[in-house]
Each structure stands twice: as C-alpha cells, then as structure tokens.
Symmetry: C2
Subunit: 281 residues, 2 copies
C-alpha cells in the first residue's frame, strides 16, 4: 500500500478517548481530509506502563493503522510520544510522516509568548519526562518553562459529568503558580484538558494565550501533508472512522464529549491482551 496516495486517510492513535480532542481540531481545520482514529481503550490508561511496553503498543497500533492504509500518522498520546516517538519515526518515517504531541505545541507556544514566560500544565509523568522543557528550549532558547504537574485534573475530566467545584479547585490550584510566574502563554500538556479550557481561560485571564495539542497538531498535519504533496482538494468533504481495542459502544459514549462531533459506528479491533512484550514490574 503506497502511503503517498492522497486518497488515504490520516491515521491517529491514542490510549483512549483523550486524543479525540486532537482529532476534533483536525476535523475542524481539515474538513477535506479523511481520518481514521484508533483508541487503545482495552489497555487504557498508559500512565503506569514501562517505556518498553509503550513502544511495543505504539508499534502494534501503528501496524494496524498502516495495514489499513494511511498517508500520515499522528501519535495523539503524551505517554506514547515520550516513550516511542523517536523509535517509531526512525522505523516508519521513510514510509510515512509521523507527527507526535509535545513538539508542535512547544513550537506554537514559542511563537505566541511575548514575555518569554511559558506555563505548562500536564500529568506528573509528562512533567517528569522533561519532554516539554527540552522541546521548548530548542524552539525558544531564551524562554522559561514553568511546569505544573496535576495528578487530579485528567481523571476528573475522564470521570465526566459537569464541571464542578472540585474541578474548579483543581484548576485554581494549577493556575496559581503560573499566575505568580506571570506567564503569558500556557501549554495544555494533556489531551483531556481542552474540555476545561473555558475554566482555565477564566482563571488565567483572557490575555494569556492557551495552546492545546489539538490546534498545534492540526497545523502540523496540514503543513506536513502539503510538504509531502498529499493534501486533498479543499472542495471535497472528508470522512472519519473509529477503531477501538475495547468495547465500541463504551468508546462511542465516552468519546462524544471529547470529539464534540458525531461519532458514528466504531469497529472493534483486537490487540494483545496485556500488550505483547510486557515487562514485569
């Protein structure tokens, strides 16, 4: 299957439904492209997996997507990006462009900041990985990164329901050090966070630019498709489909909040139960 065929979809994978906020931005920005999304809900969450497992999962998911045909691959998952992107890229980049999180939003943040003070809100694992600090240092060597780790925010959003006072308190706590540091730009370093973006914007103030993975990746995907000469005609209407390794109906129900667009049918695909190559802790 040639991956330089413009009629192929853009493939996106994530550990679950969080990456649908990335797909959302891609669908709004690139309505003329087709997308195929794979959520590894059977093995969600990825937070406590070893890097070797994550790399194995990423390779397996990429394999499923490439077998069906894709012209670009998006890794819409922070854990998988930090553990497996370089390896995945070196294995696949001759065949297909691979776009991950972290770098695109660091680039956007570097372009957006005026005072050189950039905030980051992310899970403890993501903050600890240092991936954003590294990417921002390359994009804007003079910028300071003020990182806030929140263990609670993503699970609160994943649990669903209304934005309540626990979520508000959690957002306030995350924003306090960023306001103190007078950041003018904040990276949402987790694909779940766009669901509380209004709460964050109210807390940070309208003058702070919020950068999400979704909008950064949508811009990157557009640029990469154009650079590879495989972008579709802007007058056609694109389609999008879903694969899930867990229960399709559960994916559909949980995913709608994240996608904010209709999720039609979801097809089940099998992956190794515990993940092939699982290393015992």
């Amino acid at each position: 299957m040639s991956t330089s065929d413009r009629s192929l979809p853009v493939a996106v994978f994530d550990s679950g439904v969080g990456g649908l906020t990335v797909l959302h931005e891609c669908l709004v920005s690139l309505p003329h492209e087709d997308f195929l999304y794979l959520g590894d809900t059977a093995r969600f969450p990825y937070g406590d997996r070893t890097p070797a497992q994550l790399a194995e999962f990423a390779r397996e998911l990429a394999g499923i997507l490439l077998e069906r045909g894709a012209k670009l691959l998006v890794v819409a998952c922070n854990s998988a990006t930090s553990a497996a992107l370089p390896e995945l890229r070196s294995e696949l980049e001759r065949e297909i462009p691979v776009v991950g999180v972290v770098r695109p939003e660091s680039r956007l943040a570097a372009a957006a900041t005026r005072n050189g003070r950039v905030g980051l809100i992310a899970t403890p694992a993501t903050v600890k990985s240092g991936a954003y600090a590294e990417a921002l240092a390359e994009e804007a060597p003079a910028a300071e990164l003020h990182a806030v780790a929140s263990a609670e925010l993503a699970p609160l959003i994943q649990a669903g329901g209304e934005v309540d006072h626990r979520t508000l308190a959690c957002v306030e706590g995350a924003c306090r050090p960023l306001k103190r540091a007078q950041v003018d730009t904040v990276i949402l370093g987790c694909t779940h966070y766009p669901l509380v973006r209004p709460v964050l914007q109210r807390e940070l103030g309208r003058r702070v630019t919020i950068v999400s993975s979704g909008e950064a990746i949508a811009a990157e995907v557009e640029a990469r498709l154009r650079a590879s000469g495989v972008e579709n005609d802007e007058h056609r209407r694109g389609e999008y489909r879903f694969l899930a390794t867990g229960d399709p109906e559960q994916f559909r129900r949980a995913g709608t909040r994240f996608l904010q667009l209709p999720i039609g049918s979801v097809e089940h695909v099998e992956v190794a139960a515990a993940g092939p190559g699982r290393k015992a802790a």
Copy 2:
C-alpha cells in the same frame, strides 16, 4: 440604589438558558466582575409572543434585576432585544447602560470581514425582523448580508443530547447558501448556536470568521464599564449568581451545557404567570 457603584454586578436577562452562552463569554473575559443572570424559564420560549408582551416582560425582568442592584444591564435575548431594546434603553439609560444583542455582533462582523460578504444564521423571526440587516448597514454600509433562517437548529440544540446526524444535516443546510455566497464572516444570530460552533466551523472552513453574540457582548460590556468608570479591579475574583422564573433545578440542569462552568444555586423569582399586559392573539 446607585447604579454607578463599581461593586454592583452586571445584570443579564434572557428568556431561558440560551443567554448563558453570552454569560459564559462574559465570565471568561471579565473574571473580575460579578454577574447576576435572570432566566425567564417560566415563560420560555419567547418566539410566539407579541412585541407588546415582550416589551412588558423585558420591563418586568429589568425591574427585578435593578431592584437588586446592577451597574449595567445586558439583554441577552434576540426576541426581547428586537422588541424592547430601544424602549428599555430610553427608560433606563440615564440610570444604567443597557447592552443588547444584534448591534455588538454586527460591529464585530463589520470589523472582521475582508470581502464585505457577511453571513447570518438565525431563527426565522430574527431574520424577518431585519435587525441584523439594519445594524450591519450602519456598521458597514458596503457589506452584503446573506441571511439564512433556520427554524430547526435552536430547538435541536435546546433538546440536548449529542450532536447527531439531524444536527449535522441542519447545519449543512444552513451553511450551503453561505458557502455559495462566499461569505468570509458569519454571525451566529441566536444564543443557542455556540453549542454547535465546531460543527459550523468544520462546515464553513477555518478561514471563515464566526462571530457570536457572547464574545461581541463581552467586548461591549468591558468597553461600557470602562467608559462609565465602574469597572472592577482586575485582581479581584468575581462571582456569579442565578435567578430563574421557572423551576430552579431544571434551570441548573439545562443551563450547565450552555454555561460550561459550574452553576451553583439558583434562586426562584416570581413573575406574572402569563405575562402582564398579555395581548390576546
């Protein structure tokens, strides 16, 4: 009660929960101001009321809010604005600034359009009123307004649930003539529509600027507070409260989707059951 006291809240009223999308933008833009929102859910919807009734309702609701104290009044309702804004303004403007819909978003659209082709999606009553055509003609005399009336979109959104294929079909139908007319700016002429903004943006394309009442009114409220010298210190944290003429719990449940922020307690207030001064059809 002096209305030039900066410690007073900004008062907002609407026929129901739709105006909460306006409050949402105000809360995000002006986190340091207090707001008091009154939803006339007992008499919702306003669509089939006579202009005389609407004027009477507007006067009654404004009276309730002003009695509690307010430094600015927002009429976040298209029906009430077109029927009663000039009258309300002439009665109250010496006491308190009054901001309605239509004019602020027409001004924003006039500033945003580059090719002079502005689209409008609104309910049939709003399109028929000619209020947007008039306001846009004053703000940008050379601009063409391409108005699309949709009877279905607001009720579909009000009914709630996921964005489904009926909503998609409805949005596609509304956007078709706008795309044909090559508008580069579209006014959302109903406070319900921001809930399907991503669907609209995907349909219209990222290059089309979408203007909602909420963001236009938030900008107008900010400017008017500053002009009157009653804006609050930006370092304080504002609060917001709710009044509903119908069942408070129902308001809270229906409203959360529109506000996208926690709705705490809602206080019930009484209004005349059928509306005072109701004219038989």
